[in-house]
């Protein structure tokens, strides 16, 4: 595993915070990715900004990976069933709970929302518990 670099972690996080601030200040929108995706796949008129945000995200990711990165991002092992099961639960749970790490975490905590604090503590707890069970109980 690559070394932990707190400077790029903090700077990367701050860029995400700046992005969320820009989207809220100029457009009045919350930078919650699950919400943006859910709105995008409705393909409604007037919601084109969601697709443009997603295209921007991909462009930003590519800009980092192919121009700025000191070394390529490590490629994780291909685990299709875990990805499909996990992805389904992430999609189901974020729509049910009205947000994900960005909507509740970055934006909700920024707004000092009690609902978002509960959401963040809940998904961190179940995420940690799930990895514990998978890695240290089931030994997968």
């Amino acid at each position: 595993m690559a070394e932990f670099n707190w400077i790029t972690a903090l700077l990367g996080g701050m860029l995400i915070g700046v992005s969320a601030t820009i989207l809220l200040a100029f457009n009045g929108r919350i930078a919650g990715i699950s919400g943006i995706v859910n709105g995008a796949i409705r393909f409604a008129t007037g919601e084109g900004w969601r697709w443009i945000f997603i295209v921007g995200m991909l462009a930003g990711g590519a800009l980092y990976e192919y121009l700025l990165a000191p070394q390529p991002t490590p490629i994780s092992s291909f685990t299709p069933w875990a990805i499909i099961l996990g992805g389904f639960l992430v999609g189901f749970g974020t729509r049910m709970g009205s947000g994900c790490t960005s909507g509740h975490g970055v934006c909700g905590l920024g707004r000092l929302s009690p609902r978002s604090l509960v959401a963040v503590l809940t998904f961190l707890t179940t995420g940690i518990a799930t990895v514990f069970v998978i890695r240290h109980v089931l030994l997968l």
């Binding site: 707190w6 972690a9 992005s19 930003g60």
Partner: protein, 142 residues
């Protein structure tokens, strides 16, 4: 038009942030969630860095009478902490622990040209549509 330009700039910064912080590497995220293993604190710094910015900047932004290029703020209206919020977030956390991606990094990791994010995004959309269908049906029953 201006709104779309803002969305593009915000999207680029978001993707850049997820790349720089290496959240697009799911092993790092799983390393953070694995508190009983070789713990990787990266995600704590990423979320911390983002929240430091939003906690300070949102104070000023939300004092504006309206956003700078649109007419009104679209903020969540629900205030109550209900079972839907808690159970939904709990299910999301379980999925996050299994897949190692949450929506932002999962979408951005599509640029790595590997299969994991592709399957993740498809499954994410199917999961989201399933909840929508399920909730519409249960509303009809009531």
């Amino acid at each position: 038009m201006k709104q779309n330009l803002v969305a593009l700039i915000a999207g680029v910064l978001f993707g850049l942030g997820l790349g720089l912080s290496q959240m697009i590497d799911r092993d790092r995220v799983l390393g953070f969630l694995d508190v009983a293993g070789i713990w990787d604190p990266t995600l704590l710094f990423v979320l911390g860095g983002a929240v430091i910015v939003t906690v300070i900047a949102f104070r000023f932004v939300l004092r504006l009478s309206h956003p700078l290029v649109t007419e009104k703020f679209h903020l969540p209206t629900q205030k109550n902490i209900d079972m839907r919020l808690v159970i939904g977030s709990a299910i999301f956390g379980v999925g996050w622990g299994i897949a190692g991606y949450c929506p932002g990094p999962g979408v951005t990791a599509l640029v790595l040209g590997i299969w994991n994010p592709v399957l993740f995004v498809i499954a994410l959309i199917l999961g989201s549509l399933s909840y929508k269908r399920y909730s519409t049906r249960s509303k009809l029953r009531d």
